[in-house]
Symmetry: C2
Subunit: 243 residues, 2 copies
């Protein structure tokens, strides 16, 4: 490990050009920054893209949980602070606090696994044992990831085929794009009336350019469960609590 840097910070600016119809940073652009900041901290710790390639491994996001009092607005400067809560040979738990000046506007919890670049199966990361030295007991006062059970009924279904713009550096569907397809299940008017209090996604399988899926939605009052399901089963599950 390069150096023990328990916290990493990055300041961002949400330009008008990036903002959505609710005049705030979209959850997709927000989640993109979660991944970037995590990658930066991993780079500093010597286990970024280059560091992991030595073992033929790449980090992939397994779970993402976002709970925001409010999203950054247009032309607002905000700061991500990230740290590792827990590291073991199978996964790493990384949290984030988001602030605007002295105001804490929300928290994020993530879980990362490393996949083998050839087999695409989760890899053992015990050779990174030193990462445990960076574990930090800084509080992250939002609930841990929820249990997400298979849907037993479906309110509505939309078919979708992943396209070239959905594909990332690792030649599978970009983690952010699943979030986008989930959020697309509600229209602009719905988001005008209902902000997202808590958003969770759990990634289970890879999808590729051309993969055909069904996007299934069940909503009971202000809680929605969404699954993106391909021919070989569920690709990801998401749970949204609206305000």
């Amino acid at each position: 490990m390069s150096e023990i840097v328990k916290e990493h910070r990055h300041e961002f600016f949400s330009s008008v050009a990036e903002c959505n119809a609710q005049q705030e940073l979209p959850l997709t652009a927000f989640a993109q920054r979660v991944i970037s900041v995590a990658t930066e901290h991993a780079d500093i710790l010597g286990c970024g893209y280059a560091g992991m390639m030595k073992y033929n491994l790449a980090w992939v996001l397994s779970r993402l949980t976002v709970e925001m009092k409010r999203m950054p607005g247009a032309d607002e400067t905000f700061t991500f602070t990230t740290w590792i809560e827990n590291f073991n040979r199978l996964y790493s738990e990384r949290n984030f606090e988001i602030t605007v000046g002295d105001e804490v506007i929300g928290y994020v919890r993530t879980i990362w696994v490393a996949i083998n670049m050839e087999t695409r199966a989760p890899g053992d990361i015990s050779m990174l044992a030193d990462l445990a030295l960076t574990e930090h007991d800084r509080p992250c006062p939002i609930e841990k990831q929820s249990r997400m059970r298979p849907l037993t009924a479906v309110d509505r279904t939309e078919p979708y085929v992943f396209r070239s713009s959905d594909i990332d550096f690792n030649r599978h569907v970009n983690s952010i794009r699943y979030i986008e397809k989930v959020l697309n299940q509600w229209d602009v008017d719905y988001y005008d009336a209902h902000k997202i209090a808590r958003f969770e996604i759990m990634y289970q399988q890879e999808a590729h350019c051309g993969t055909c899926v069904d996007i299934n939605v069940v909503q009971v009052e202000n809680v929605a469960d969404v699954e993106i399901k391909g021919q070989n089963g569920v690709i990801c599950r998401s749970k949204i609590t609206f305000k």
Copy 2:
């Protein structure tokens, strides 16, 4: 006008997390930066979002032309330099040079009009006449915007309905999203074999959440014409020259 600043520069970094299957910055993320840098320069010149709101106007991108020797790669630092080539009471022509260190990797030409926030019609911008003082004769050695004629035949058509994630701050479809829908007409394998030498898009009408369109494509050898057409006619036209 706040100050005569003929050139504005912004340095960017293309993270692995943003890159596409070809391991380079996608044209969509690139075009987003074009808009951000233009907005920054307009802010400096006193005619950014806040400055234009005084006249109940907002800048909208009318034409975008990108010609890159190569796109920024993963983990690469690159710089946008922008300047106004021409300003008149109807539109403004703004160019960009993109460099990596001393290497010029490409150029961009844009045309901007201002729309009235209530009528959504193009507005007169002669009150910004001072902007002409910022005109700069710095060379932009790529062809001016092509004439884009209506398609007389169509090779293939895809229907699409714009979704909430396509909508921006101005509550219409984000300029970048049209580019994405155009690029989606080719799959990852095609882009592995064919880089884009020149990309052009001309915006003609607004679309909104729920707008149903046909995406029509005609391709003759390495040149493709694409139109996105709604019930009230063409929303945008694009021309792509592949290498």
